[in-house]
Symmetry: C2
Subunit: 327 residues, 2 copies
């Protein structure tokens, strides 16, 4: 058992990242393939199967402990329920069943924000924390929660929608139909909209001279170089994120906040305004001992977390066996 | 054991409510005494001891299973840490120790919002729910959370501060130093301030003619009678509460919301705007199957919940014993 490896899959809208991972979180082999998300579910499943086959072809079959997959959207019992807007037709896909049948290897599927959070819990900054949030900043804003040492999923598996918590109840309309959601301000669309508004007032910004299509990444880079518009945008975005996180910290008395996702790779330029805002909006008692950091796993969190799906299942089985022996 | 009774104490800023309670939640004897909160901790402890003595004097000592106390403020390991603004000097009080020494009966102390929530969990609408929030609307706004079937306390026992989650991040200053907190709008002070503003514009309101000092209760009564100012205030307050609750529902994917505390006794006049607002601000998926109700236990929740502190301890002991036998 100790020598076995796990196949981890991190399904994204652009790439499928996959790896052979040891039980202590070492990524032995890693590969990446285009998701081809616009081509719909058949093609996407095919691409997932392709990378799995590629990874296990040179392995002894009994050394493969399991396959773990993190997918966008809502996942219940290994089935993709829906809610993944960036992959065409990614609804009612019995992914677990399909992959298990194809490869005869135990397979586990979960939402990608959950797998990222599990990655942080077992191999990242969450290792020493029993109550933390892992927020993922990207096109959308999601979060995973570890409460009392366990990934918290909620009544029906939909927990973690921090992006749709309201920070300004009369504020901007959000795609979800509600108002003033964190995502409306600090998701990609919100960031770009705010930059456009500020750019009109400050034509000398280097952002305006940029030939590329504006992205949060370009804005963060410009902020690091001292561009005033970019700095203002990043400061405002950080403030909103801090308010949303403070709400969670006040409600749940967490001991740690981990910030992941694309925008977090901007580093201190985004971390500092988030921390300042968190400080302003958290209660004194709740703030005591609270740690706030950028993810140290970065993009690897999802891949490692998909392996954790398999590891947790194995732990559970060992536990059940023990209880059985006691009976 | 089955015939034993529990002493439950619900410590409030005005009254100490106390009762002899059976294991299935029947309140056999109930009594009430002034807290005399302004006289400081010595007097308050004396008053608590007085009601306990009174309740157990005619009972066989070995029929008393335990004493449970719900207290305002932060409680750690049976000790009042602080944070109870309405009882003078209610800080660093080793209440558990004091009461146990005095009566030689196992004693358990917890925060009063936690005991209310435990009351709802075991004897109220929370009975059939594994993931719910119990919000208490009063001078301040607090909440207890039951997640995965367990009362959730957070990293250091400070969870539940929904009153200090921000619904309007550039909004009113709150007593806590932060901005736009739910409590700043929907706590007693916020409600009265808003009523005063609206009253200036509408002098014909019956609230203006009221000889009594304005309270949330009087405003709710006037709203029921159709007073336009009172109705506007209640509608706005309900909307804020709904936004705050929607944030929690979206984050935690709860299956139930229970609304308790003084203002909840106004009934539908406050429930309806809360429900309307919750509907507007929750995600479709998270709203499915969500139940929103006023507490059916009302003021008894705290008393019953303090008994649950003892019941849970007893359950734990039975469980430990079973595990011991298996070893």
């Amino acid at each position: 058992m100790d020598r076995g490896v796990i196949v981890g899959i991190d399904l994204g809208a652009t790439f499928i990242k996959a790896g052979l991972i040891t039980q202590n979180g070492q990524i032995i082999t890693q590969l990446q393939r285009l998701t081809e998300a616009t081509q719909g579910r058949k093609k996407v499943v095919e691409n997932i199967a392709f990378v799995i086959k590629h990874l296990i072809d040179n392995q002894k079959r009994d050394s493969i402990l399991g396959i773990g997959i993190g997918s966008p959207g809502y996942v219940l019992n290994g089935q993709i329920v829906g809610g993944a807007e960036n992959i065409k037709d990614w609804e009612n896909v019995p992914l677990r069943e399909i992959i298990e049948k194809r490869f005869s290897v135990p397979t586990f599927v979960d939402n990608d924000v959950n797998t990222v959070t599990l990655g942080e819990k077992v191999f990242g900054l969450g290792k020493r924390s029993k109550n933390f949030i892992c927020i993922t900043l990207g096109t959308g804003i999601g979060a995973g929660l570890v409460l009392n040492g366990q990934l918290y999923r909620g009544a029906r598996g939909y927990a973690g929608e921090i992006g749709h918590t309201t920070v300004d109840y009369k504020g901007w309309l959000c795609n979800c139909g509600s108002r003033g959601c964190l995502e409306a301000y600090a998701g990609t669309e919100g960031i770009l909209a705010r930059a456009q508004v500020l750019l009109k007032k400050t034509p000398q910004s280097i952002l305006r001279k940029s030939q590329e299509r504006l992205t949060p990444k370009i804005i963060c880079e410009a902020a690091k170089k001292g561009d005033p518009v970019a700095q203002e945008v990043v400061k405002e975005v950080g403030e909103y994120i801090g308010v949303g996180l403070a709400n969670v910290v006040n409600l749940l008395n967490l001991d740690r906040v981990i910030i992941g996702g694309g925008i977090s790779q901007a580093g201190r330029v985004i971390l500092e305004p988030i921390k300042a805002s968190l400080k302003r909006y958290t209660l004194n008692l709740g703030r005591k001992g609270l740690k706030v950091n950028l993810s140290i796993l970065g993009a690897r969190a999802g891949l490692l977390g998909s392996a954790v799906l398999v590891l947790e299942k194995m732990e559970q089985e060992v536990k059940n066996e023990r209880e059985y022996l006691h009976f």
